[in-house]
Symmetry: C2
Subunit: 237 residues, 2 copies
């Protein structure tokens, strides 16, 4: 019964029991198992809804006792936080790829949004986005919000670039960004892996729609962009 986690962890990597690292490092054995647990949370998240995400559920999914989870994580909040970060990292990778040189704003934005959506659909951490950050510890919230802002700023930057380049209509960058990212964040609410729409279809169709709304209309009036008045931030959580 004590092999469950180990089994899960080494399921893919043959049966080689050779483990030379034993300490508590990021990539140590304990660290690996932490990842297994987090992936398991993602699984639970896929099926049941967030409101019923209980420590017990996660333990059941793994076939271990809930007490054991506290050997790997400080508390539930910590687990949730880690999930948030995993999810965010995937999206930030997409941002990185998107901001590579030599792309038009449309191309960049398409890559970013595609990667962002795929991350939500594929890795299963999407559902975590519904959680609010209220019971994060200050440092956790700070770290997470920083990265989230990075993502949002990235998306907004591309929209701005597109407007400046005359490729996009002069929309309100911030609100349009909220609209796009909000629509994406909402996906886990209706998406079901067994449903009618494949991730490919969803990505294709949604990203197309998002971009079409930005594309400059030939007959549109050219409003002068950027009055440069830094509007106060409106974004609590």
């Amino acid at each position: 019964m004590a092999r469950n986690l180990a089994n899960a962890a080494t399921k893919r990597g043959a049966s080689a029991p050779k483990r030379n690292i034993r300490w508590n490092g990021v990539s140590g054995l304990k660290g690996q198992r932490r990842e297994v647990i987090l992936r398991s949370v993602a699984n639970v998240l896929r099926n049941s809804r967030l409101s019923s995400l209980t420590i017990q559920d996660v333990a059941d999914e793994l076939g271990m006792t809930k007490g054991n989870l506290y050997y790997y994580f400080k508390d539930k909040q910590d687990i949730l936080y880690q999930c948030h970060m995993r999810s965010m990292e995937i999206s930030l990778r997409a941002l990185e790829e998107a901001t590579a040189k030599g792309r038009t704003p449309s191309e960049s934005l398409r890559i970013l949004l595609t990667g962002h959506i795929r991350g939500i659909l594929d890795d299963g951490f999407g559902g975590i986005l519904q959680t609010d950050l209220d019971n994060f510890r200050p440092d956790q919230r700070k770290t997470y919000v920083k990265k989230r802002d990075e993502l949002e700023r990235g998306a907004r930057g591309m929209i701005e670039d597109g407007i400046r380049a005359g490729e996009f209509d002069p929309v309100n960058v911030k609100l349009t960004g909220f609209a796009i990212l909000g629509a994406i964040n909402w996906i886990p609410k209706w998406y079901r892996p067994t449903g009618a729409f494949s991730p490919d279809t969803i990505v294709e169709e949604m990203v197309n729609y998002f971009l079409r709304g930005l594309q400059r209309q030939p007959g549109a009036s050219q409003k002068p962009l950027s009055k440069k008045k830094r509007q106060r931030e409106q974004h609590e959580q």
Copy 2:
């Protein structure tokens, strides 16, 4: 101390204490107070986040004890359900207005989305949308989902009409509908009444963006709409 609710209820309507109806009707005294309570939930929802929406909070907001709430509602679930319905009714009113005769699809859709967003921003029940329907009683869920589907079908219908009329691009109606409504449902996550954006601005900017993404591009290829293959429903909650 027993006047709190009454005070709140009659705050606006002068100090006339005449109450001829006493029974438990929809519009009876008890019914009126129920509305006051629900509005109070909306207030709590505006400030704190949903995860911390506790019966105690609601009672505090009203200046009464939590036990008293059970004189007006069966249980917490019931309260939440009522909030859902209030919120939905507002949106359905917008749908009704939007589907009046003699409007183009764009016009209809604009009215619907405007009313829907305004409802979320103004009445304060928007935050309730984050809740999942898991712990609804079957009948509650059925009733609510029926109305929600009505709203979604309404929106989709307008998109379809627009495509048929050559006014909109031939998008995937369902997914585009998810995108639009999802973006709207997400609004309570970032909107703050004291923030930089007024409801007017938000409505204006978002609805414009949503419609621009639908508008037929002059050079776009005309895909034949409606293969009529009823795709399986993908929408659990």
